[in-house]
Symmetry: C2
C-alpha cells in the first residue's frame, strides 16, 4: 500500500520533471539521465517506470491533454453564448500554456514527434462545434463561416504559444500572453461577431466586448 | 580562382543541407555528421568551413534573414497603401516559410537557440513603421492602435508557421498556408481597416478586400 503510493508519487515526479525538460530542450535535447537528475530519482527507478524516452514523452503528452480537457470541461459547464465560450476557451488555453509545463511540453512534443496525437485534438473539435452553433444562432457575422473562424482561432492560439516560447526565459518582464490575446481578439472579433459592428474603446471596459458592442 | 569558386559552392551546399536538417530535426537533433552525409561533403571539409554546429546554425539563421530581407525589399518597391503592404508582407513571409527551408530553419533555430537574433527582427520593424503610417493616414480603424495590429500580425504569422510545421510531411494534401492566411485576414481586416466596414463575400473577388469594401 505505502509502496504503491510511493510508486505513484515517483511516477508523477518523473512526468513533471520530464515535462520541464522537454519544454525547455525539446525531445532530442532531453535524456533520461537529465530527467533522472532533475527528478532526484535513480536512473534504475526511471527505467522501471518508463523503459524509454518514448514512454516518458507519451506520458507527458497524455498529461498535457488531460490537464487541457479538465479545464475545458469546467468551462463548458458555465452559462454563456457559444461565441463567448470560444473566446474564453482560447484565453484559458493560453493561461494553461503560460502556467502548465505539461501543456507547453505536450504542444512542443506533438510538434517534434510527427505521428503522435496533436495537442489541438484535445480542443479543436469543441471549438468547431461551438462555432457551428454560433453560426446557426446568428451570432456570427453572416459572411464569417465557422470553418474560417476556426482557422482564425487556430492561428491566434499558435500565435500565443509562439509568443510565450520566444519571451519566457529571455524576457522576465514580458506581457502576459493572455492580456495580449485579449487585445488581438478585440480587433479580430469585429469581423467575426454579428453583434460587434463597432470596436469597443481600448481604455474602458476591457472585458465587455459582447455587451458594449451591441448598439 | 577555381578553387575559390569550389569553396563557395561547398559552403552553399552545406548551408542548404544544414537548413534542411535543422528544419526537420531541430538544433539538438542535428549533427555535423548528418549534414556532411546529406551534403555529400567529407566531415573534414565541413569542419574546414564550419568548425562547430554553432557556426553552421549561425550561417543558416543569417541566410534565412537575408532571403527574407531581399523579398521585403522587392515588396517595399511596389506602389500600394501601407496597410495593403502589411497584408502582402505577411502573405510573402508565409510563402517564404512554405518554400524556403532556410527561412523555416531560421525560425526554428531562433526559437531553439535563445539569445540568437529572432527571425522576426528581420521584418517586425517594417511592419511597425507601415502600421504607424497607416494610422496617421487614417487607414486604420480609429480604435485599432498600431501596437495592437502589430500584435495581430505577429500572432497570424506564427499561426501560419505552426500550421505548416504540423501539416508538412504528415499531410501531403494540406491546404496552402498562404490561402489559409488570406481567409483569416478577410475576417481580421474588418476590425483593422477604416475602409472595410463590411466583409467581402467568400466566393467572389478573393483578392479585393480593399477595393470592394470601400463603400
Amino acid at each position: 500500500m505505502v509502496k504503491q503510493e510511493r510508486a505513484v508519487r515517483t511516477r508523477r515526479a518523473l512526468v513533471k520533471a520530464a515535462a520541464e525538460e522537454f519544454d525547455r530542450f525539446g525531445y532530442d535535447g532531453t535524456s533520461l539521465a537529465a530527467i533522472s537528475k532533475v527528478a532526484g530519482v535513480s536512473i534504475g527507478a526511471v527505467t522501471f517506470h518508463f523503459p524509454t524516452k518514448v514512454h516518458l514523452a507519451d506520458a507527458v503528452q497524455q498529461e498535457g491533454r488531460t490537464v487541457t480537457l479538465v479545464a475545458l470541461e469546467r468551462l463548458a459547464a458555465e452559462a454563456m453564448t457559444p461565441l463567448r465560450m470560444v473566446i474564453d476557451l482560447t484565453l484559458e488555453l493560453t493561461r494553461l500554456m503560460e502556467q502548465e509545463p505539461t501543456v507547453r511540453s505536450a504542444i512542443r512534443l506533438s510538434r517534434e514527434r510527427p505521428g503522435t496525437e496533436a495537442w489541438s485534438d484535445a480542443w479543436l473539435p469543441m471549438v468547431r462545434g461551438l462555432l457551428e452553433r454560433a453560426y446557426e444562432n446568428g451570432q456570427l457575422h453572416t459572411d464569417a463561416l465557422p470553418a474560417d473562424v476556426t482557422l482564425l482561432v487556430e492561428h491566434l492560439t499558435s500565435g500565443a504559444e509562439a509568443y510565450l516560447r520566444t519571451r519566457m526565459g529571455s524576457d522576465p518582464a514580458f506581457e502576459s500572453a493572455v492580456a495580449q490575446l485579449k487585445r488581438v481578439w478585440r480587433l479580430a472579433l469585429v469581423g467575426v461577431s454579428a453583434e460587434a459592428p463597432t470596436l469597443p474603446r481600448q481604455a474602458d471596459a476591457p472585458d465587455q466586448d459582447q455587451e458594449e458592442a451591441g448598439r
